[in-house]
Each structure stands twice: as C-alpha cells, then as structure tokens.
Amino acid sequence: MEDIKEMVRKYVISEYLDEGENITYDSPLISSGYVDSFSMVSLLVFLENKFKIKIPPSKATPEAFDSVNKIVELVNQYINK
C-alpha cells in the first residue's frame, strides 16, 4: 500500500510540481492548481500504465484526483478487481 502511495507522490512531484515544491499524501492537487484538468489526463494514463488498470472516464473526476490518498483509493478499486 505504502509503495503505491509513494510511487504516485513521487510521480506527481517530478511531473507537475516546480523545483523546490513538495506535497504530502493529503495535499490538494486539483483544487490547489498543481494539476489542471488537462494535465489530469496524463496522470490518468500514468496510473493505467503503471498499475495495469483501466479507470472509467466517469470515475476520473477532479474530486477523485484531488490528493495522492484519494488517487490511491481509486486505484485500489481497480487493482483488486
């Protein structure tokens, strides 16, 4: 569980944050502007590639992507299927 969380957090930091910025597992991502709605698509592709899952578009909402914890919660629904 921790591995997935850290993997997602590291990816978000490396891809979407500026130099020197950091986030926790609960930091807002969408509502803080770190990840916008267009960039969310690349984050979705990352999750699908990395965890070999398919997340339906209806579940890929700004609310579901708003923190690392929420993303992991979503990913787990599909990993365990």
Binding site: E15, D18, E19, G20, E21, P28, L29, I30, S31, S32, G33, Y34, V35, D36, S37, F38, S39, V41, S42, V45, F46, E48, N49, T61, P62, E63, D66
Partner: protein, 567 residues
C-alpha cells in the same frame, strides 16, 4: 429591467458615441484604459467601493478598493518607469491569477507600455516564441514560474528585466532578475499617466492559427469603448453587482471582461485562483453572493458532470445573470442551467481579434438554446459564401462568419505580421474562421471552424505548433495533429505519430510524448491521445493529409482522396 432594453430600439438608435458620452470621452482626448479602470472610478466617488475580492490557494483572501487598485497601479507603473520602461515597450505578465496580475495590468497601461499577458501554464517553448516575437523588454512573474524563464532568457537578449513579485530571499537571484513586493512598496498617490490616445497600442494577445507560429493580436486603448458598452449591455453589469469572470487574463476574455469591462463600469469583481472543482466553485458563488457569472461551456459541462445534488448543497439564489464564452454552448447546458439555477446561460461569440462580444443572446431576450444569438448593435455581420465571399441571404444556409471592420475593439494588426493580418479580409469583410448559419430571426447557429485550429476548452491550439514541438522528441519521425471530439472540452488534441527507427510503440512512450508537449508548450496543447502509425497518409507530393485523419476522428466523409499517395 436589464441595461439593454429592447433590441429593435437599440439597433435603431445605436451609435458608439453612446459609450463615448457615458465615459466622457471626446475624439482626440487622452484615453488610457489604466486610468479609466481606476482613477476615473475614484473621481466618480467610488474610491472606497470594493474593486477586487480575491481568494487563492490555501484559502488566502485579499480585498482591494478602487482606491487601492488606483494606488497599486501607480506603484507598479512607477516601478516600471524607474527601470526605464517607456511607452510602447512590451511588458509580459506571466502570473497565476494573483492580485499582482490585475494590478500590473493597470500599472503597465498607465505608463503607456503594452501589456502582453501570457497564460502561466505555458511551457518554456510557448513562452519563448511569444516573447521573441514581441521583443518583450520586461516580464513580471512569480518565483514558481521563474525556472521556465531562466531556461530561455539566454535566447532573449532583449528581455532586460525579469521582475519577481514574490521573491523569496532564500532563492538566489540571477542576471536580470529584480525582486518587487507590492505590499512592501511605498504608496504612490499620484502618477503622471502617459497621454495615450485612441489608437495607442494597449495589449498584445497571442492566438494560434493553422499554419505558422502564434500571432500577436494588437489592440488599442480605444477598445475600451466597446468593452465598456458590451459589458454593460450583454453582461448586464449594474451598480450593486458582484461579478465573477472565470477566465484567465492570459486569454482575451480575462482582460476584456475580466478587467476592462467591469472596472471601467466601477463594478466589484471576484477572482478565484484555484483549480476547478464543482464544490469549490459553488461555494465561491455562495460565499461572495455572486450575481453575474461569466464562464465557459467546458466549465459548465464539467459542473453538469459533477451532478445535480451538489448544486443543492449551496445557496446560489444570488445569481442574477449568467453568460458563457469560448466555444459553442450546447442546448443541453442551457436547459440544465435553467433547471438548476432558474435562468439560462447566455452564449456570447467573439474572438481575440474582435476584442469584444459580437454575437450574443441578450439579457431579457428570448434565448434559443444552442444558438449564439444575434449581432450586437453597431456590428455589421453576415455569413459569406466561401466561393465568392458574398453574404448568404437564405436562412439556414451555412457560410463563413464575417464582420465589416470598424468597431472600436477590433484588432489593429498582427504584431510584425501585416501580411497575415491582410489575409483575414476578403471583399472588405473580416473573416472569423468560424462557420454558421443564420435563421429567419437573425440568430446565428454555430457549425464549426473553417480551418484545422483546435478549440479545446475554449482555447485555440495550433496543430502546426504541436507538430513542430513533437518533432523535437527523439522518438518522433513524423506527426499529424488533429482535433478529436470530446464531451467536456468539445475538442481535444490527438497526435498521429510515426517513430524513428529503433523506437517501438508502447504505453510508456505515449505518456512520455504527452508529458513532453505538456511541459514544452502547455497542458492545453498536450495530446490526450497518441496513435502510433507505420506511415501517415500523404499526397503524392509528400504533404501529410491531416484532413483525412480529422475526418476519420469525426466519422465524416473523407472527401477527395485522389491525390493520396499509393502504398
């Protein structure tokens, strides 16, 4: 009662001098948008009225009166002038929607310099292209965007000043970088406003076309006349309104109606500088009792997707008038807004080049869901036959949307590109690049673009610009970029790619290419889908047939393929 009144009466009695009189402007007078949006409002007795109510990330809240924004504009203008910035120098504003963005806009105009607002999500290459084209002398930015500027500054010898509004002392400044803090600056009560006149340049907004690099649309201070009147009549802004324009000033809506329109009318406006979420938006409306809301179809469709229940968690009864811009507003969204808010979104049609609203559903008039509405008084428009550029008189027949030049907010040229500017005119008509029909009551019905430009979430993306950037990726051999239909954004970017020898298609490579464009250009330009192909369809002369790929995406007829290269 709306400000607009009856359409027939407005059309009959219309003259742009209506706005000139209300603004007490006479031909030949000094005309400076920065002064009109702040000093003049204070002189009208509204110095203590809230002008800007700001809410940013982390629940940061700030509020400025019209006197505050007048003084802040003076402070910034004075700072720039002391650096040596002169009239008609280009000053780029490269910031998130923080108060300094709006206040720098006023300060730059007050000293007669030209504002070049750029969307802060632009990557370094998008930024470079626009700064180089404009020969920008100064950029005002935030620490968080500094790394992008640093990557390109050596290629921009004319960029003399990199001004950072939130400099953190722990970060070492480098060559040409200058810290500036509005909060720590001494107030400047009086500033000599540069005596700009009607035709003095005010703004350079960059827009994308099918071919070539983005073009700098040059506007002048006289645009105020049209932006003031359209904000009053179309957005129906009235003395006690609390107004929210959701557009970023990196785009023309964010300046014409996110700064100039409301502030020249002395209206209080709210800014939410946070990412999109339905809950946050509704809460913002509820918290500040927003009365007039100007947004975009993409946002409205995203709100629809979030569901109806969430709307009911908030008190949105303050909303009095709703309008939309950026792309066609589908009838479902209009019907939904009537159901949820008790009133329709009023579509407005205009462009970076037109500078002001041209076609709209007016307050108090019948809204035909799915229609763009009717021409604003004083605007002569038509749909033209693409064969001979003559107006089509038959209702319902599709043609090119065109306007007779001469309205106050029309662009004056493309920066350093007079040739492209002239290409926009045929038979004395300005061609918008969009197609529509007109019904027998004069309502326009949008059909689509007349070129390959991609309208994603209300923003134009040039396929050429994305294709050029794609070729810089080490794995990409050839590329073709087209619009793909999208439920929320109307269109998104799709890239067809052939790979260089030694590279193999894979999901990871697709993601790598997506991120490459996102960082280099912008999240808007990022292909949301990448399709790897063995070869791209080409004409026998070797030109990639983008049209064929576009037709395939949209399920349309492919048309004439007689020039298609054989296998």
């Amino acid at each position: 009662m709306s400000n607009f009144g009856l359409y027939e009466e407005r059309i009959r009695d219309f003259d742009w001098s209506i706005a000139e009189k209300e603004l007490e402007y006479k031909d030949g007078n000094i005309l400076n948008i920065g002064w009109y949006c702040s000093d003049r409002i204070c002189l009208k007795g509204k110095a203590d009225k809230p002008a800007l109510i700001y809410e940013g990330f982390g629940n940061v809240k700030k509020q400025y009166t019209f006197n505050d924004i007048r003084i802040a504009g003076n402070v910034i203008g004075n700072f720039l002038r002391n650096l040596g910035i002169r009239n008609e120098d280009r000053v780029c504003l490269f910031m998130d929607r923080i108060p300094e963005l709006y206040l720098s806009f006023l300060g730059t105009l007050k000293i007669g310099a030209i504002v070049q607002p750029l969307f802060s999500a632009f990557g370094e290459e998008s930024l470079f292209i626009r700064l180089e084209n404009a020969q920008t002398r100064a950029i005002i930015t935030q620490s968080k965007h500094l790394s992008k500027v640093r990557k390109i500054r050596d290629r921009l010898p004319g960029l003399e000043f990199i001004i950072i509004v939130d400099h953190n002392i722990t970060k070492k400044l480098e060559s040409r970088e200058i810290p500036f803090s509005l909060d720590e600056s001494a107030p400047v009560e009086n500033l000599d406003i540069y005596p700009t006149t009607a035709e003095s340049p005010s703004l350079l907004h960059y827009t994308s076309g099918t071919t070539g690099q983005p073009k700098g649309v040059k506007h002048v201070h006289y645009s105020l006349i049209a932006q003031y009147l359209t904000a009053k009549w179309v957005l129906d802004l009235q003395e006690n309104d609390i107004y929210w324009c959701t557009a970023d000033p990196g785009w023309v809506t964010g300046t014409s109606y996110g700064i100039i329109g409301p502030w020249s009318l002395g209206i209080t406006q709210c800014i939410l500088d946070a990412g999109f979420s339905a809950k946050a938006w509704y809460k913002f409306i509820d918290d500040y009792k927003i009365t007039v809301w100007y947004s975009a179809p993409t946002a409205i469709r995203s709100l629809m997707k979030a569901g109806d229940d969430i709307v009911r968690e908030f008190d949105l009864s303050s909303l009095r008038h709703l309008a939309s811009v950026g792309e066609p507003l589908n009838s479902e969204a209009v019907i939904w807004s009537i159901k949820m808010f008790g009133k329709p979104f009023h579509d407005t049609f205009w462009q970076t080049e037109t500078g002001c609203i041209m076609i709209t559903n007016f307050p108090g008039m019948k809204v035909k869901p799915g229609s763009m509405g009717r021409l604003f008084p004083g605007i002569t428009g038509a749909v033209l036959d693409p064969e001979n550029y003559e107006p089509i008189t038959e209702p319902g027949k599709i043609g090119l949307i065109a306007f007779r030049p001469g309205w106050p907010a029309m662009m004056r040229t493309y920066w350093n590109n007079e040739e492209k500017y002239r290409e926009k005119f045929k038979n004395g008509w300005y061609l918008s690049g969009d197609r529509s029909s007109i019904d027998n009551e004069g309502y326009y019905w949008f059909v689509g673009r007349d070129d390959d430009v991609i309208n994603t979430g209300g923003h134009l993306v040039s396929p050429f610009e994305v294709e050029s950037a794609l070729l810089e990726h080490p794995a990409v051999g050839e590329s073709a970029v087209v619009a793909k239909p999208d439920e929320i954004n109307m269109e998104v970017v799709k890239a067809f790619i052939t790979l260089k020898p030694g590279f193999t298609p894979s999901p990871d490579l697709e993601l790598e290419i997506m991120n490459f464009i996102r960082k280099k250009l912008s999240p808007l330009a990022m292909p949301q889908v990448v399709e790897f192909m063995d070869k791209l369809p080409k004409t026998r002369s070797g030109k990639i047939m983008r049209r064929l790929l576009h037709a395939r995406e949209w399920g349309e007829e492919t048309g004439d393929i007689s020039t298609l290269e054989n296998d």
